[in-house]
Amino acid sequence: MISQKDVEHIAKLARIELNEKEKEKFSQELSLILDYIKQLNEVDTDDVEPTSQVTGISNALRDDESVNNLNNQDKIIEQFPERKETLLKVKAILERGN
């Protein structure tokens, strides 16, 4: 049901690199799971509203005032995998070009 090509596409979207063996394994496992899920088509949901959350709360607001109760910038910066002083270092997102 899910081909290896589908798995390649999904892996790209999910930003996870897979080797050939993994692609085959996941295509089998995902197909099995999706097969089980197919039974939802039996259910008549024509006039049913979707539920995205069960609290019934909407628009939890607070006053537009600055609240600074977490002074943990140092701890956060310490976790950066690569940095230059307090700046987070990442690979280029734009290439030098003409």
Partner: protein
């Protein structure tokens, strides 16, 4: 000193009577952990070098808590059971942690779990499975297996876990202890590493129902840092326990005891274990003797709950785990130019190497179900059936106060027994609906059954209406006392 069975109240009484000091208790716990953890693998990190406080302040003073490793405690490692966070140091503490500290609790360490809370057995942990104290060849349940086993083995007074599809209740059931999943919105999720944001709840694993009520009283409440928490006042749940359950209307869903094929929506052989069913029926008799009224109810969409859960949860997972990308924290290949020269490679390789099989499986399932062309067929459809599942409970609760049933279809299985993902997912059959509907549910021990020479605990599940934890705790407490008094 026998600390194994001490409840929160036992400890406070003992400290008041000078039977022992806080320091002696701490030393005993750490000594036990040192002795047993190699065998049980329940703790991923132990706080034996941290300062403990023993002043008599706060309702839970004197007690020692084990915390599931997906709940943040500032300045300590939080792995979420994954290599991708193996060295991640939490930069803040979860709201529940701050509340427990205020209540006088000391923390013993972080417990083992299925990676990112994905699993029902703790076998998906990147740091090895935890073992069930009742039979070391069997799983303690999951994903809060470390927490469940720690409490059962007496390596903590109580523990914190998280429950998205049964992850507090299944370990409680397999390990023979009490596990409570509160109403969605009752307890703050701030500081809980998110899995399924519309399903997750933090809850406690305790030795008895009284401790469960006490801990809930402390951790529940509106939190401005979690907009999904309710404005509803937190009652003193312990006061509810004193009342009896005469006239309590208890619903028993017929679908829970249906022929296995019907109950699970597919071929039998994976149905309700007849020994478990016997224990649940005995429990129903006990409730009758306590004066409760047993009423048959129907939850017609029960059989679709698992399918709904295994679409909605992976979809939410795919969004929540996108943040683990090797950029700001966690495992990253970015420093190694042999491995990654582009930003895309940093993402793809950090995630491929950092995540185990189950997270990758669920991220991909969710990515697929949310992708263009499939969103309506899968995610939207699942959300609509979710509405029907919630409506089933709303209808049933017009006739009854609580709904009971088994927590798990069978007792603890053997490590390595469930080889394919689907057969593992089926272990959640009785627990996922409550997360989908957002209702509270507790698992309490209701006896033991024998399998291959081992005595294995069986869990009874009691579910209630939204924000009605008082009622399910009252039912649970009365049952627990009846079972104790024989």
């Amino acid at each position: 000193m026998e600390i194994k069975n001490l409840t929160i109240r036992d400890i406070q009484t003992g400290l008041d009577n000078n039977d022992f000091t806080g320091g002696e208790l701490a030393a005993e716990y750490f000594a036990s952990i040192k002795k047993e953890n190699q065998k049980l693998n329940v703790y991923l990190s132990v706080f034996d070098d941290k300062e403990m406080k023993f002043d008599k302040k706060g309702e839970l003073w004197g007690s020692f808590c084990a915390v599931k490793d997906n709940i943040l405690i500032e300045d300590t490692i939080a792995t979420a059971g994954s290599k991708i966070l193996e060295n991640y140091k939490a930069t803040y503490s979860a709201t529940v942690i701050r509340k427990l500290i205020g209540a006088g609790v000391n923390f013993l360490g972080k417990t083992n779990l299925d990676e990112f809370a994905m699993g029902s057995s703790t076998e998906n942990s990147a740091f090895g499975p935890a073992k069930n104290p009742h039979d070391l060849k069997r799983v303690p349940g999951g994903s809060s297996g470390g927490s469940g086993a720690a409490v059962a083995a007496g390596l903590a007074t109580f523990a914190l876990g998280s429950d998205t599809g049964g992850s507090i209740r299944t370990p409680a059931s397999f390990c023979g202890v009490v596990g409570l999943k509160p109403t969605y919105g009752r307890v703050s999720r701030h500081g809980l590493i998110a899995m399924g944001s519309s399903l997750d709840q933090i809850g406690s694993i305790t030795k008895n129902v009284y401790d469960s009520a006490l801990v809930l009283k402390t951790i529940a409440g509106r939190d401005p840092l979690d907009s999904t928490t309710a404005e509803i006042e937190v009652p003193d749940y312990t006061k509810e326990l004193k009342k009896d359950i005469k006239g309590l209307k208890i619903g028993v869903p017929k679908e829970y005891f249906a022929v296995p094929a019907e109950a699970l929506g597919e071929g039998g052989g994976r149905g309700l274990d007849p020994d478990v069913e016997k224990k649940i029926r005995e429990a129903i008799s006990i409730f009758k003797n306590l004066g409760a009224e047993i009423i048959d109810v129907s939850l017609p969409h029960s059989k679709y709950a698992l399918a709904v859960y295994y679409i909605i949860m992976p979809c939410e997972v795919s969004a929540n785990l996108a943040r683990f990308d090797g950029i700001k924290y966690g495992y990253s290949v970015t420093g190694d130019n042999k491995q990654a020269t582009s930003l895309l490679e940093v993402y793809e390789k950090s995630r491929a190497k950092g995540f185990g099989n189950e997270p990758r499986r669920r991220i991909m399932l969710g990515t697929y179900a949310l992708s263009a062309g499939y969103y309506d067929a899968y995610y939207l459809k699942a959300q609509k059936v979710r509405t029907l599942i919630k409506k089933d409970f709303d209808e049933a609760f017009k006739k009854v106060d609580v709904i009971i049933g088994p927590t798990s279809p069978a007792p603890a299985f053997k490590i390595g027994e469930k080889e394919d993902p689907l057969s593992m997912y089926l272990a959640d059959i009785y627990t996922v609906s409550h997360n989908l509907a957002g209702i509270p549910a507790i698992s309490i021990p209701c006896g033991f059954i024998e399998k291959e020479g081992s005595k294995l605990p069986v869990g009874l599940q009691i579910a209630g209406k939204h924000f009605n934890e008082g009622t399910i705790l009252r039912a649970a407490h009365n049952f627990e006392q009846a079972l104790k008094n024989g």
